[in-house]
Each structure stands twice: as C-alpha cells, then as structure tokens.
C-alpha cells in the first residue's frame, strides 16, 4: 500500500507529498519532518510572506480605478463571483420548476424576503448612524482647521490690500530720472508677489488637510455600507427568484396561455363570419406562442465558472487541431530530411508570429466560411452536442481555437521531428531486419519510440495554448476568461480590479493543473525513466 501510494505520487509528479506518506507509515520521522519542512513548510511560508507584502504594499498605490486590492478584497471578489454564479444557477432552476416544488420554493423565498425586511431597516439605520457619527467626528477635526483657515484668509487679504495700497501710493512719488529708486520699487513689487504666493500656498495646505480628513475611511461606515449592500443584493436576488417562481415561471406562463387558448377555442365553436376568422387567427397565433414558451429557457448571463468551462473547451479544441497538424508533419519531418528542408522556412517564419496577428486573420477567414452563423451546419451541429451545446459556439470561438492551434503547434512539431529523427539506430535495425512495411515501421517502431518527446512537445503546446487563449478571447470577444477580464476592465465597478486579480490566480491554477496532467501522460508513455524529468 505504502509503495503503491508513493509510486502514484511519483507518477503524478507530486513528490512533495512523499515524505508525508512516509511519515504516516512511521519511516525515519526525523528525516521526513526535515523533508516536509523543506518542501511543504518553506513554500507555504514563502507564499504567506508574498501575501503579507502584497497586503502591506497594495493600499499605498492609488490608481484611477481605486486602490490596488489587498488579498482580502480579492478573496471577497472571488466569493462574490462564486455567489453570482450560484444565484444565477438558482434562477435558472426556478424558471423551470413546476407544481408542488415550485410552491414550496416560492414559500421559502417569500419567508426569507420577509425576514430580510427588518434586517434591511436595521442596516439602513446603521448606515445613517455611521454617517452621522462620521460627520460629527469629521467636523470635530475639520472645525479648528476651518476657523484657522478663515482667520488666516482674512489676515492675508487685509495684509495684501495694505501692501498694494502702499505700493500704489509710492508709485506716485517716483522721480522720473531716479533709476535706482525705480529698481528698488520693482524689487518691492516682486517681494509683494512672492509673499502673496506664499500666503496662498499656506491656505492651500490647510485646505488639503481638510480634504484628507474628509476623505479618510471611516471603518464603521465602511462596514455598515458593506452590510447594507450585501442585504440589498440578497433582496434583489430573492426578488428575481420569486419572479422566476411566480408570474415569470414557465409553467405558470404556459398555464395562462393555455387557458386563453381554451377560452378562444370555445368561443370559436359558436362564432360566425368575420369574428370566426379573427378568432381562428388568434388561436393560431396563441398556439405558436405556447410552442415558443414551452421551449424557452432562462436567459442566464455568463458567469466566470461557465466562462472557464468554455475557455477550457476552446483551448482543447485548439490543442487538438494543432496536434492533428503538428504530429503528422513532425513525423514526416523526422522521417525525411528533404521534407524537413521543405518545412523549415515555414516553421522558422511562422513560429514567432504573435497570437494578436493570427486572431484577426483567423476571424476573417472563419467569417468567410461561416457568413451566417445562425444557418450554418457546423454551428448547428456543435449546438446539438451534449457537453458543448450550451456554450453557443460561434465563429469567434472557432477563430480563437484556430489561433491557439497556430501558436501552439510549433513546439509539438519540432519535438516530434526531433523524436522521430533521433530514434535509436538499433531499433531501426530491428525494423530493417524484419523488413517491416511503412505502416508497421511507423506504428510499431517510430511513433512509440518518439512518444516521450512528442508528449514533451504536447505539454509545452498546451501551456502556450492556454496563455494564448486568454489573449485571443480578450481580442475576439469570444465568451471566456479573456472576455471576463476585458469586461471587468471596461466595467470600472468598485470590485473590477479585484476580480481581475482573481482571474490571475484562476488562470495560473488551471495552467498548473493542465501541466500536471500532461506530466502524468508523459510519464506513462515514457519507457525509460530518464526521459520523464519534470
């Protein structure tokens, strides 16, 4: 069991867990503790230090979009993203509910709504109190400053008028030929201007002091506002939810429309002439409406988890397209030096091209193939696939996937070529002695022998593809993580900045997991242990 566990950990590339397993089995506790200290505690401490520094430094840097969010704010943003996703899923459920469950759910929602009412009044009360408390405390601090300001202001303007009057008076006494006296007069005017400027600065400083005091955060108020917002959000959500359960509910709407239809049908039986025609038309229209209602779903907005799912689908689509191109070409390059020579210019030329360039080109080309997405067979086909259908795959998605493919296939291609070209000569001799045909040689000797390098290439490709994808989505407005970032950037809400930081961690984490998965695959296909370095 122990060795099985250790082997599994080793294959998964999570070797930092090995000492924990060994410790659990009581093997050399001292040594294992040392290892745990080095490979688990030290990284954790490093991360803690990072978070601490971040928390300390972030509030000092003010930007146009507000303060740089601290770790706590980012955490709040993450939970708010998740809450949003949860609540939207609830609403979607609610829209489709019918019968007893709908009524029960509605009752729960109504109850919670009524519970919220007093809470809301209380929260409003708190905000009011906090506001009042803040005003008094601010006024207390600002009061003396203001009085001093007024006092100084009066003094200064009095002094200024006095100085100016004196200067005006002396100007009349200036003798026309007395150059020295004129110089002295000019100097006096200069002094006067400098003094006036200094006095103005002094007043400005006082004013700034006042503004700073007024702008200072008042923790009590901040907390009260937060509580108020939370309750307001929940109220809004419950309101929407009760709407989906109540008159906005699909079953209720259907019932209502059906009742209308029945009534019309009954009247139609006895109607004559124009009235009969009108009624018949109404019945037909009503039937169409019922059909539409019964097929309708809740218009759910995109939430980050859904966008992550779509991004993953997109990156895998691109990765598959890229691999399907790269592996065969790579194999041919490895097999034939001539083919390699033919491909080298293309590889060298296209490898460094940025996704930002590929994307518009891909968008235009895909747009050319799919001029009308609503009526195209491919889009139609994709919309009916079980796990992908709901994602509304559109030309932007396809273009993003193609961009991912174009940027990521080079690593696989070059690695495959290298793997095929560097097959052990002895293994090829086996094929020669057995006079294996091309197919057997390819599938029994060449590809198995180059699999470790192919997978090394695939691993790099997937990593590159994941990075490229976010940029591609951001540009193409294909729903996904990139789009989320772009929306937040343009949105400018108070928590947009924090939500973008959440994305940093989400993208990093998913990239890490993808890489780990590829490592496991790489290890499973490598026949000698040396090839599977992490």
């Amino acid at each position: 069991m122990k060795y099985k566990l250790i082997k599994a950990i080793d294959v998964a590339g999570l070797t930092f867990l090995t000492p924990v397993v060994r410790l659990c089995y009581g093997e050399e506790p001292k040594k294992q503790l040392q290892e745990i200290g080095r490979f688990i505690v030290v990284p954790l401490i490093a991360f803690a230090v990072f978070v601490g520094l971040w928390g300390a430094i972030a509030p000092r840097h003010k930007t146009k979009s507000g303060e740089v969010p601290t770790p706590l704010v980012v955490w709040d943003a993450a939970s708010s993203i998740w809450r949003f996703h949860d609540r939207e899923a609830d609403k979607e459920d609610a829209y489709g509910l019918s019968g007893k469950t709908r009524e029960q759910k509605l009752a729960i929602v109504e109850k919670r709504l009524s519970q919220l009412e007093p809470l809301e009044t209380l929260a409003n009360q708190h905000v009011k109190e906090a506001n009042a408390a803040r005003t008094t405390s601010v006024e207390e601090l600002v009061g003396p400053i203001l009085t001093q300001y007024e006092k100084l202001d009066a003094e200064f303007s009095a002094a200024q008028t006095e100085r100016e009057a004196a200067l005006k008076r002396d100007a009349g006494l200036l003798a026309s030929a007395d150059r020295a006296a004129r110089e002295a007069y000019l100097q006096r005017v200069r002094d006067h201007a400098a003094k006036t400027e200094a006095e103005r600065e002094q007043l400005k400083e006082l004013k700034a002091e006042e503004t700073a005091i007024r702008a200072e955060k008042f923790p009590q108020l901040v907390n009260a506002l937060k509580a108020q917002t939370r309750i307001a959000e929940e109220r809004q959500y419950l309101g929407k939810l009760s709407e989906q359960l109540g008159h906005g509910n699909r079953t209720l709407k259907l019932d209502e429309q059906m009742a209308q239809l029945r009534a019309d049908q009954v009247t139609f039986l006895s109607a004559e002439g124009d009235a009969a025609f009108m009624l018949a038309q109404r019945i037909v229209r009503q039937e169409a409406r019922i059909q539409k209602t019964s097929e309708s779903t809740y218009a759910k907005p995109w939430t980050l988890p859904m966008q992550i799912y779509r991004s993953l689908a997109c990156v895998f689509a691109g990765f598959l397209i890229g691999s399907a191109i790269a592996i065969p070409i790579g194999v041919l390059c490895g097999l034939s030096k001539t083919f390699m020579a033919a491909m080298t210019p293309f590889i060298a030329l296209f490898k460094p091209v940025s996704p930002i360039v590929w994307l518009p080109i891909a968008l235009i080309i895909v747009g050319g193939f799919i001029p009308d997405p609503d009526k195209h067979w491919l889009i139609d086909f994709l919309a009916n696939l079980p796990l992908l259908g709901w994602m509304k795959i559109n030309p932007a998605f396809i273009a993003s996937a193609i961009t991912v493919a174009l940027c990521s296939l080079w690593a696989t291609m070059t690695n495959t070529a290298l793997g095929v070209a560097s097959i052990d000569k002895d293994h090829l001799n086996v094929a020669r002695v057995l006079r294996l045909g091309f197919k057997d040689r390819l599938f029994k000797i060449v590809i198995p022998s180059s699999l470790p390098l192919i997978f090394a290439g695939l691993r790099i490709s997937l990593g590159v593809g994941w990075m490229v994808l976010i940029a591609a989505e951001l540009l193409s407005s294909s729903e996904g993580i990139g789009k989320f970032v772009w929306d937040q950037f343009n949105n400018g809400a108070s928590d947009s900045f924090a939500k973008m930081m959440v994305v940093v961690f989400v993208v990093g984490l998913i990239g890490l997991v993808l890489d780990r998965i590829m490592i496991v695959f790489q290890r499973l296909v490598s026949f000698d242990d040396a090839a599977a370095a992490i």
Partner: protein, 316 residues
C-alpha cells in the same frame, strides 16, 4: 611462418562435409568481400578487403580478431545492414541484397524495443514471418521460443524490468523465432558477466543442436570460440582485414563444457589461436594488405576442391 591448420581436420569432420550436396557445403559463401569508406581526401580506405569464406549448412563458424579489425563490419554486411563495397555474399544460393528475416541478428546490446514486453518483442518478428498462421499459433510460437531461452515466467515483463542476461535471452528468442537460414551473433555475450555468459552459451548451443541453424559468431574470447563453434576463422588486423587462418575444431556436437576443456588438444588449439592473435599484434598491418593472397573461389563444379577450408593461408 604460422603453421597452416588444415592438418587438424579430424576424419569425422571430413566425413560430415563429404556427405553433403554441393549446395549444402557451400551454403554461405563470402567472395572477395570488401568494405571501404572514403577518407576526407577522397581516397577509399578499405576496412575489410578480400574476405573469403565458405560455410556449410548447419555449421557454426566463429570469427575472432582484435577489436576494431572489422569483424562486426563483416557481420553487418552479411546481415545486410551495411552495404558491401565490392565482392558478394551468397546465402542459401541467393546473393543477399539488404537485410531480411532470413538472417537473424543478435547484437551485443540486446536492442529490444523498450515499449514492448519480452513477448511482444518476439511477436513482432513472428507476426512478420508467419503472416498466415492463426493468432493462437503465433502466440504459442512466441511462448515456445521464450520458454526455450528460459523466460517462461518473465515473458510479460518490459525490458527495463529484466536483467542484462535476460534481455539478451529475449534477443536470442526473437532471432531464432524468425526461423532464419542463418543466425548472426555479434559478440552476444560481450556485456555479460562470465557466469551469465556460460549459461547463455549453453542456451544457444542447445538451440543450435536442435535447430541446426548455420551460425556465425563474432567474438574476441578464444575459449568461447573453441567451445561454441565447429571452425574458427581468424581475421588479420585492419585496415584491409581478411581471413588470416581457419582452424577446424575436433569436437562433436552436442558437446559438454568439461569434455571440451579436458580434451587433449584443447590447449594446443587455444595456443594456436592465441599465437595467431599475438602474431597480428607484432606484425605491421600494411604489407599484408598489399598482398591479395587467395585464389578466387568459383561456384562451378570444377572448383570442388577442399579450398573452402583453406583460405588466406596459402600466401604464407
């Protein structure tokens, strides 16, 4: 200066040869085989030059010589893995062109495909050689040959899970499973310890006794050459290496190791081989290259003299 060794022919060996049809006596024939590589100045340097040898069917011939003299070059040329610059090799009445499963090779390194189990390594050859046989038959064939080399219990392991000796056993099983007309062993035990080496020598001798495959063994171990083969072919030093002398061994097959070791002639034979090798050490290689010292071997019936046993020694 060195005594020709044809006198050592025993009556038994003669009789065996006499009883064979011409095609069987000249089952494998090397005629003036030469391998030359161009040097940077555009001149061809012959590694092997004028190599002549005739092997009868079912015979085991070992080739000894100093390392780098061109033994392996000769073997890879028979195997078809290396082009012949001039001259030709005939196996079973047909001149060889390229490699083929009729000439199975066991290399010094086991050369197993590491992504396949021992069984699959044998099966890839069996599938190729017996395409008509049923799946079940092919499977049994693989299992049979793996058990012949003593791997019945380890046949589903991967090469990296096997010891060097076991890997080489798989290599042997893979070679004989091809039912080759000729078995080529290129220092097959060079990388093994002496105990494993003795075990594997017996494994191969067992197989050869049973299957009677014409075999060529490259080795630089004098004792191995004496124990395993019917004739020992000694190569001169390169460049321009060729057959220096051929020693006919007086042992019958099947043979016992201690019977061979205790044979009264054993040390004479051994001394003969060693003195040839030592003579090669002392002698400068150049003059020997200059002399092409052999009557061309022809395949027509008129040339049915015993010259296949006497080779390059005529010059000395």
């Amino acid at each position: 200066m060195i005594q020709p060794i044809t006198e050592n022919l025993t009556p038994a060996a003669e009789a065996k040869t006499d009883g064979m049809a011409l095609a069987e006596r000249r089952f494998v024939e090397f005629y003036e085989v030469t391998k030359a590589y161009p040097n940077p100045y555009g001149e061809d340097i012959a590694v092997v030059k004028g190599f002549n040898l005739i092997v009868s069917k079912g015979e085991v011939v070992s080739v000894i010589g100093h390392s780098g003299c061109g033994k392996s070059t000769v073997l890879t040329m028979v195997a078809g893995l290396n082009d012949i610059s001039s001259g030709g090799i005939v196996v079973g009445g047909r001149e060889i062109v390229g490699p083929g499963p009729d000439r199975a090779v066991v290399f010094q390194a086991p050369c197993l495909l590491p992504w396949m189990t021992a069984f699959q390594n044998v099966k890839i050859g069996v599938d190729r050689v017996y395409p008509q046989a049923s799946k079940q038959d092919r499977k049994q064939l693989c299992e049979y040959y793996l058990s012949v080399v003593g791997l019945a219990d380890a046949m589903h392991r991967y090469p990296k899970e096997l010891s060097g000796g076991m890997q080489q056993r798989v290599g042997i099983a893979r070679a004989i499973a091809l039912k080759p007309r000729m078995l080529l062993l290129d220092e097959p035990f060079g990388r093994l310890d002496s105990l494993t080496r003795m075990e594997l020598q017996d494994v191969i001798l067992d197989i050869l006794n049973r299957e009677k495959i014409t075999t060529m063994v490259i080795t630089h171990d004098v004792d191995e050459a004496i124990y395993m083969s019917d004739r020992v072919c000694m190569m001169t030093n390169g460049p321009g290496a060729r057959v220096g002398q051929v020693l006919q061994l007086p042992f019958e097959r099947p043979r016992e190791r201690h019977a061979v070791l205790e044979h009264p002639d054993y040390y004479d034979l051994r001394g003969c081989l060693l003195s040839f090798l030592e003579g090669q050490d002392r002698r400068p290689a150049e003059p020997e290259v200059a002399v092409t010292a052999h009557e061309p071997v022809t395949t027509d019936a008129a040339a049915e003299v015993e010259e296949e046993l006497v080779t390059a020694d005529a010059a000395h």
